[in-house]
Symmetry: C3
Subunit: 359 residues, 3 copies
């Protein structure tokens, strides 16, 4: 039995006309020339003197030397092989020892936008790069939320990470001793809401009168049983938001009383590096006791621990698919959101390709 989009993770069929996270803004301070491959493009990211983020192909158009090994000059970058200089639009503006710059001497530049401490990039048709299409996560800018932004590299296709987050039951088995807390989460609870959306899905799950999961126990120091909710939203092309809260068992979250809850907001951005590797940007924020910096750091460390539990499984999946592309997966009931997501993504990619062929 096949699910539409089942094989997407085997190909480099990316949706190109959409925004992906290219970097955290803090990665570009101090004029750093950051080399990062995005959707198979080797790209140079930097901020010059003007402070605007720039993205250029990281290959000098002359002989292919890396511009990221070059030198920042104002808002320009100079290739340090033969000295060609490129401006922020990618145009070559100087060739040492040569008076004229021939037509066509340029490297590709990509639309980039810095917003809420993230640098977004558009690798599709530049004229379609509408900033309003950037998926919004307000907690990165709203006061009262604190977290530690971080990055993880995966040796796996980004959609295998999307799959992972489509079914929270894995918390019970993969994260039993870190983010989960007990296997009840898989056996006794189910999603209470599953919403298919035009560009993603939304899943809500409750766990009442439960053991406190270890990561929350670390920052609250209380063993009292809790009521827990998780609301996960996944957006095309691979952006995940999680709203969750923990309240004393019986305090009424099922009736909407969250007055005693401690809440978290988590954002995760998956950007394909290649068909088999992924950039993973994330932040896990809380809005209580935010004057205590150790809480954000402890939550950060717990997440790193949990993400590495996922990473081991997901990278092994990638190796399994690489070793045998004929391997076929079998869906279970809980795969409905992931199947929907892959179906929608496959349609969008097909539309984009169709439009490109027609044009």
């Amino acid at each position: 039995m096949r699910v539409a989009g089942d094989d997407l993770h085997l190909h480099n069929d990316y949706l190109r006309n959409c925004w992906y996270v290219a970097a955290w803004a803090h990665e570009l301070i101090d004029g750093r020339l950051l080399a990062r491959t995005i959707l198979d493009h080797p790209i140079l990211l930097y901020k010059g003197d003007s402070g605007s983020a720039v993205a250029l192909d990281d290959r000098c158009c002359h002989r292919g030397a890396r511009l990221s090994k070059g030198r920042l000059e104002g808002d320009c970058v100079r290739c340090m092989y033969h000295g060609l200089k490129f401006d922020a639009s990618g145009a070559c503006v100087q060739i040492p020892g040569q008076d004229m710059v021939p037509k066509g001497m340029s490297v590709r530049s990509y639309p980039v936008i810095e917003r809420d401490s993230l640098v977004w990039i558009w690798t599709g048709d530049a004229d379609k790069a509408d900033p309003n299409l950037i998926v919004d996560f307000p907690y990165l800018r709203e006061p009262g939320w604190r977290g530690v932004p971080d990055y993880l590299h995966y040796d796996a296709n980004y959609l295998l990470i999307v799959d992972n987050l489509a079914d929270f039951a894995h918390l019970a088995f993969v994260h039993r001793h870190t983010l989960g807390g007990s296997e009840e989460y898989a056996f006794k609870t189910k999603p209470v809401e599953v919403e298919r959306q035009p560009r993603g899905f939304r899943v809500k799950r409750m766990h009442m009168n439960a053991e406190v999961p270890p990561f929350h126990r670390k920052v609250t120091r209380s063993d009292a049983r809790i009521d827990r909710w998780n609301v996960g939203t996944m957006h095309i092309p691979g952006i995940f938001f999680l709203e969750s809260g923990f309240a004393p068992a019986g305090s009424g979250i099922e009736r909407g009383d969250i007055s005693q809850a401690r809440q978290y907001r988590n954002c995760q951005f998956f950007t394909p590096e290649t068909a088999k590797t992924t950039h993973f940007f994330w932040n896990y924020l809380h809005n209580w006791n935010t004057d205590d910096p150790t809480i954000a750091l402890s939550l950060h460390d717990s997440m790193v621990e949990g993400f590495h539990e996922d990473k081991a499984i997901i990278e092994q999946q990638q190796r399994t698919f690489d070793a045998d592309p004929d391997f076929r997966m079998h869906p279970i009931a809980a795969d409905a959101p992931l199947a929907h997501f892959r179906r929608v993504l496959a349609q969008l990619i097909a539309q984009e390709k169709g439009a490109a062929l027609a044009a």
Copy 2:
């Protein structure tokens, strides 16, 4: 000049309807979930509470996670990604959070048989898996023989190891200072019997009035010259038995008087992991002074030393063939057994494929 079957080592054309050694029985104690790729199949081997060996595909049929990273429960194994549970037949018997297990939720199971401390596996048609087809090596169960079973991994096709054992003349050059003893073995002696068998070959070689080879010298502490016999038998698909003995020079082994001989029995089982890598299981047994445990250990260490001499050459051969698949080998007279073995194996594989096509 080409020999039939010359290229077998370049392909993953395995004979599938036959038994291969999958593990030593002792590798499965304590409920260990052993991951081992066999004939390109990633396989999970284990013994549950019932004590029977089980072999399942090491990929959860749901999303391909490794069952060998799962949890043993009785005779079942639970995938620790989303918690699916599989019994020893490979059937999924539980999906957490889901009442019914859909039809077709199962992983492949393989016939396995434990015999004489070896676990055998059949990766072909299960209904043809006749236990009587297991090649017998009685010295693993007969009292009076002692040895230390071991395992070596080769980065080479298993048939290059078969080749190696088809011509003992290599003892003189490869193992001069370990298992051989002198180059006379190549220059002065030849096989006294070479028997082509329907599923293998048998080669007998004598060396009279010879220097004692170093490995035997270590356990006898005598420099007296010896008469030596080696009788090697190779069986499809890659099973080698060696009977050998060393007697005082002139004591009459050529007339059948082996009363003063010290004898050894060696078994070697080559199981393809992939077309370019091999599992190598072996034991080298002796039947004299068996109350002294240091003899078996010394022989074991000498074999490890000798096998690594072979391994260096054989893995280099593999790299040579990989680098240039057009390289052609030229046979010498001593290759007759090897050529026969490859011819027989090529015929058996062709028959098996023909039968599969007809069916």
Copy 3:
């Protein structure tokens, strides 16, 4: 915009009917069996008792074992797998345990010539291997010149190294702090002579009243400004000679007065190992104060430092081309010599292939 021969570095289209450097002569002392892959051929190089250099295929024709792991016997080499012995012509002259050597038991031998401390090899048609075709660099034999011969391995196609040396402007950017001295070299100077030759090119460049480059400063200990000339000559298939000199600024080198100059002669030989890796043999010689051995050693070390600056860029170019064979380079004016060289080489390779097809 494409240049003829632009893609040569992506293929293993070698010119075969020409001499390549296989080794420095000193690499073959003491009967060493040197394994070196040349133009994709795994080759054994050695000098037997007669002292003549020998080059044979480094694969025993029997089962492909490495002859370089064998044993030198006089001018012969014995394979240490089954003991086959080969003479300097590649003929098998002994098979242990077998009276006759069958026809066709031989490995390929290659014409080799030792000249001026270099061992040259010819991998094309042996009957075309005319020693007079060896490109001559007299400074390796002429008295009065001193240097330290050395070797560097590149993970890049040899033509990318040829490219590098076709435009000295890179000295200004890549070697600013080692071999260059100032960026003026790129901005203020241009080649004063560029000569296209039937099998290469010649480029002359002057830099007047310049900072002394660091490598020359180290051996002269003077900061006085200098006049500098560089004359580089590149020969098919990848042989570079550099004549250069440094004189006190204003001492008249532009009028041909080099009486106050300190001169250097540099030879570099690029031999393809594979399409993506290169053997790089070089020597940097000087003819002043040659009784002081520290000068040659200091120059040697400076060159190693500078070559590693090139190597980092060139190996990155190779990775860039590997990652995206569709990447297209754009020429600048200074690429005229390299474009000529690639055009000539492409023509010679095409002629050679055409002749082979016709024959």
